[in-house]
Symmetry: none
Subunit: 250 residues, 2 copies
């Protein structure tokens, strides 16, 4: 496991004490990469107090204006969520997630998103994730404090790092696409589907969400993103041509 | 597992916020039996705030004058400790402890002790324990916040209680596509790519093989095959339209 390749991303955290508690939980479990997307207040005394000696993690925390910025370069993204969603999404528990992350971190960056204290991750944020990370909990009281949730995940990573690494080497180096490359694909796809008049630009959500989920499941490689975008470009060229021809007819 | 037979015992807790955070962690993981040995302050507003809805656990918490009182009736006792002791003591990690506790709780009461924030358990207290419960951690920074430590142990108890993995069913039945449906998709895709002039019909193998592998990885569902074929049909309609327009021009 490469702990330096595992990012903890906190989104819109309201209570700065939680940021400190997360930093402590991370350092306890040998993690150090903390990204904060628009925290209400940071740095803060409360965060430093609750970090209780994990000041180094706070000091190197990266404050970001957007989730895109926090995810730059990440190849696999997990979204921590207590709620079951109406749309099914690939779901893992912390143990499964940690095993996957420990292996994946050998190849590149992985991110785990923790949402707002009171409302968690939005559907848009969740859709950026390959997996919904669900911590088994009391069905009547399932929402953990974010530092507690982070502690559980970090603990499982610590446990996973102590296992004998499973060699899954088949000799071929697979270069997974980064989150921003995949995002570029989805933008390109949406634009093309609108031009094809297959997607209603007023109601893009449901269809695009299904397509995101489909391509997340495939863990796209760079070369695959290139192929898919090549097809989209070819499709748009036809539409351009056709529009052009029509103009020449009219 | 009998959760009612599992006691969380906090000894001489200084920060009442931690008592609230422990109550929340317990309730999240279906535990309810909280014993407090000489807490500095309890009840307290800070505890209630951090309990964040786990008020019932706080309300029924038993405040004790001595450890003896808190352990009355318990048959197996675990002491949470970050420090390695000079005296060798049977030691378990949270996973091992949880498996043992889940089984033992069927027969009688079990207790887990958490010591003072700054100094943990005394040697006298540790000697009351059958096992030292050690959470694997950063050797340079091994002391977890007590609520975080309690969360990890409670989480492992939750995992142990779910030996039969609970299906994460949220009502949607997944209908995977059959092999012939996937084959139909690939035929449709190949035909479309040739018409788009993206695929050389003399040399289709390499590209089509990559696309097959991509969609295999996704384990396509029926509805996903339908969406992808819908896009291909829309694409072919544009090509038809364009070809038609061209014909009318020529």
């Amino acid at each position: 496991m490469q702990a330096a390749n595992i990012r903890i991303v906190l989104i819109h955290t309201s209570h700065s004490g939680n940021i400190g508690a997360v930093a402590r939980a991370m350092k306890n479990m040998c993690l150090s990469e903390l990204y904060l997307v628009q925290p209400r207040q940071f740095p803060s005394e409360e965060a430093t107090a609750r970090a209780s000696g994990a000041d180094d993690v706070l000091q190197k925390a990266v404050v970001c204006e957007s989730l895109d910025q926090a995810l730059q370069g990440c190849r696999v993204i997990y979204g921590s969520s207590a709620r079951l969603r109406t749309i099914r999404w690939p779901q893992v528990d912390p143990r499964q997630a940690a095993e996957q992350m420990a292996a994946e971190s050998e190849n590149g960056s992985v991110a785990i998103l923790f949402g707002r204290e009171h409302s968690g991750l939005t559907n848009d944020e969740l859709e950026r994730c390959h997996y919904l990370l669900n911590i088994p909990a009391n069905s009547d009281y399932s929402s953990l404090n974010i530092a507690a949730a982070c502690q559980v995940v970090a603990y499982e990573l610590m446990m996973a790092s102590q296992l004998e690494p499973v060699a899954s080497d088949i000799g071929e180096v697979i270069e997974l696409a980064t989150a921003d490359e995949v995002e570029g694909l989805h933008q390109h796809l949406q634009e093309t589907l609108i031009r094809l008049e297959y997607l209603n630009p007023q109601q893009p959500k449901q269809l695009m969400r299904r397509l995101r989920r489909l391509y997340h499941k495939a863990h796209l490689e760079k070369i695959e993103v290139n192929i898919l975008r090549g097809i989209l470009t070819a499709t748009q060229k036809w539409i351009d041509k056709c529009s052009g021809d029509k103009k020449s007819v009219n």
